[in-house]
């Protein structure tokens, strides 16, 4: 089974040691990813989604960071590999598109040289060949007048164009796996749409595996094959995209979805914000780390940490004592409502106002 997956991540942990203790940024994450598939990683700031993608790629080289667990890529174990060994994988096997196209390009080096720098290192080509390849790459990410654009500086391009250059750069050595870390967060909606479509086409054409990291469920909804929702360094729910949207079981996933304003709602519809703040990663709350903000939380949630279990189908897993839509969840919700837990009252108001009922439990 394992041999078929392009990437197998098992119990990956990345901790940063600071004066106050250990920041558990990624705390026991496991998933597999196949070639040609997209995994969406969703969560708030501080949920560990960026650190996760960097840990898989081996980019956490800060002296106070420690990564344990296992990342097997094409049969090779990456955890523990030195940056020197990893260098052979970066660019040619796995590449990353970063969040901010304004700062991830060097402002004093021409676009073309940045674009072809690693091509010349990895592929052993001449300057002329590299240029031809670079122009071809710019064309493939649909930059008009690619030949002229090869010789401009980043500030002469718009944000969307710069992000396309970053994508071209990531694709330059034909990687097998692409990490896109919030690739469109800094961009306009129209440009976001273009960039996401572009990533999708490139992925399809090159049969790459892709990890798309974002805080917006709307971005991954139509584009990822599978979605992993992260909270406090852990995956709290993971399912194929359609299943996840049809029957989400973790209260956090539901809360994330509810907090997105929708154009179908009339104006001034009250949004269901998630109460409270993301947890402290040095001393996370006992039990389930979402429990202080959760409308379904009962005393057991504060005492016992739920494990990631598979529900109805074996491809849908979640870590919750009182899953949304289950009899246990409903019972917990009703009890909290009776006791007047603030976040439960808010959630009840939302359900009443929008008739956006939680999906019912099957089987």
């Amino acid at each position: 089974m394992t041999a078929q997956h392009a990437l197998v991540v098992k119990d990956l942990r990345t901790h940063f040691t600071v004066a106050a203790g250990d920041v558990k940024a990624v705390d026991g994450v496991s998933f597999t990813l196949d070639r040609g598939k997209t995994l969406g990683v969703v969560g708030e700031s501080g949920s560990g989604k960026t650190v996760l993608s960097r840990s898989v790629m081996g980019l956490n080289i800060a002296s106070n960071s420690k990564t344990t667990g296992s990342v097997v890529y094409e049969g090779k174990e990456l955890v523990g590999m030195s940056p020197k060994e990893m260098k052979h994988l970066w660019g040619t096997e796995m590449a990353m598109v970063f969040q901010d196209p304004m700062t991830s390009l060097n402002p004093v080096v021409k676009v073309g040289r940045q674009l072809t720098e690693h091509v010349r290192i990895h592929l052993d080509v001449s300057k002329t060949e590299a240029r031809a390849l670079g122009v071809e790459l710019l064309r493939s990410v649909r930059i008009p007048e690619a030949d002229e654009r090869f010789d401009v500086y980043p500030h002469e391009m718009s944000g969307g164009m710069r992000q396309r250059v970053c994508i071209a750069m990531a694709l330059a050595c034909s990687p097998e796996m692409l990490f896109a870390d919030e690739p469109t967060t800094a961009l306009d909606v129209t440009v976001q749409h273009q960039i996401l479509n572009l990533l999708n086409t490139q992925q399809r054409d090159r049969n790459m595996a892709m990890i798309l990291v974002t805080h917006d469920l709307g971005v991954v909804a139509g584009r990822a094959d599978e979605i992993a929702v992260m909270y406090a360094g852990k995956v709290v729910e993971k399912a194929p995209t359609k299943t996840l949207f049809k029957e989400m079981h973790h209260p956090y996933t539901q809360a994330l979805l509810w907090s997105i304003p929708k154009t179908a709602q009339p104006k001034h519809t009250r949004l269901s914000a998630i109460a409270g703040r993301p947890p402290d990663l040095i001393n996370p709350p006992s039990g389930c780390s979402f429990s202080p903000r959760c409308p379904y939380a009962r005393p057991i949630c504060r005492e016992e940490e739920p494990v990631l279990i598979s529900g109805v189908g074996d491809d849908h897993s979640y870590a919750c004592h009182h899953p949304v839509g289950s009899p246990a969840g409903q019972e917990a919700f009703d009890k909290n409502l009776e006791e007047g837990l603030p976040q439960t009252l808010v959630a009840a108001g939302r359900i009443q106002a929008t008739e956006d009922l939680p999906t019912t439990w099957e089987d």
Binding site: S45, H193, Q194, D216, A221, S259, P261
Partner: protein
């Protein structure tokens, strides 16, 4: 350069703020000029929220700042409470700015990192508020409390000790402390996570009701704008495309650009088909040398010769909905009214 027309403006006495044929240009040297805003007109009634939407570079922030005369517009009128701000002196403008406050996009960099939160929020009061420190603190505490920050905890803390959402709350408290009538929110939630964004939007709605505020809400996310605004102005490259009551705008967009923006929105539903009309070749033309006629024509699927030759002016779809387009997507009154 002609504006987009003024057919959509309401009588002056019904409005708190009226912007008429606003032009803001920035000289580049060598005779070149950035046409940031080229003839925008809209008005806001008291207690209303108006949303300004458009892509980066459409002039929405410049419009917001021009209301505060920062910088002074090249031409056009900004009428606040019946008074044209264009003609008045600097000293009077300084006083009037207490009625109009601003909230900025990046909550962390818009707070001074070296000053404690109590100080940051009290600063407007040093100039305009009561002289006694205790009376100032009382007001500051009340405002911090109103935005959901514990005043006694926050008073001596510094901005870096707070999260982005909390910093934005502090910025809102600072804007409110002089009890302004109008607040200009320049992309106040763009830098925040969806969950925090919802908190801030709810907070703005609450404060608006509590203090009877009027808001100008600038954003590029149409879903956010729809949620908070009574009326929405869609801008493109310094021009107005469409102005409408917000539910109407989303149900019946009349301008092809509005439709493009709506189609680009990420929708949290996996069943929505994604191969929509957005072309991957689209680039915003330069505001230094904008296209003739309709500025959107270079990206518009409906554009023809008239769009190149004649600039469209605002035409009426219904009483709450106006569009500047030669080929609108919904029927409009044929005669262009109120052409300058």
């Amino acid at each position: 350069m002609a504006g987009s027309g003024t057919a959509h403006l309401r009588p002056l006495d019904e409005t708190l703020l009226r912007i008429e044929d606003l032009v803001v240009e920035f000289p580049l040297g060598g005779g070149r000029v950035v046409h940031a805003v080229s003839g925008i007109s809209f008005d806001i009634a008291k207690g209303e929220t108006i949303g300004l939407v458009g892509e980066s570079g459409c002039g929405k922030s410049t419009t917001g700042r021009a209301i505060l005369q920062l910088p002074k517009p090249t031409s056009g009128a900004v009428v606040l409470n019946g008074q044209n701000l264009a003609g008045i002196g600097n000293e009077r403008m300084r006083e009037l700015r207490t009625d109009v406050q601003m909230i900025f996009q990046d909550p962390i960099s818009s707070l001074n990192p070296r000053r404690a939160v109590g100080e940051v929020v009290a600063e407007p009061l040093h100039v305009w508020g009561p002289a006694e420190k205790d009376a100032q603190w009382e007001k500051v505490a009340k405002m911090l409390d109103a935005v959901g920050i514990d005043p006694d905890v926050a008073r001596y803390k510094f901005p870096h000790e707070f999260s982005g959402g909390q910093c934005q709350r502090i910025s809102i408290a600072r804007a409110l402390v002089l009890e302004p009538e109008l607040i200009i929110c320049d992309e106040p939630v763009s830098a925040l996570d969806v969950s925090v964004q919802a908190q801030i939007l709810n907070l703005l709605e609450d404060l608006k009701a509590q203090y009877g505020l009027t808001l100008v809400f600038i954003a590029h996310d149409l879903a956010v704008v729809k949620n908070i605004s009574d009326r929405v102005v869609v801008m493109y490259l310094g021009k107005m495309c469409e102005m409408s009551e917000s539910d109407e705008l989303y149900a019946n967009p009349a301008h092809p650009y509005t439709q493009l923006l709506l189609e680009s929105l990420p929708i949290p539903d996996p069943d929505v088909v994604l191969d929509r009309a957005v072309s991957e070749h689209d680039e915003l033309p330069s505001p230094i040398n904008p296209p003739s006629g309709c500025r959107f024509r270079t990206r518009c699927p409906h554009a023809d010769q008239i769009c190149t030759d004649v600039e469209p002016t605002m035409r009426r779809v219904n009483d709450d909905h106006f569009v500047a387009c030669h080929h609108p997507l919904v029927p409009v009154e044929e005669v262009a009214v109120g052409v300058n």
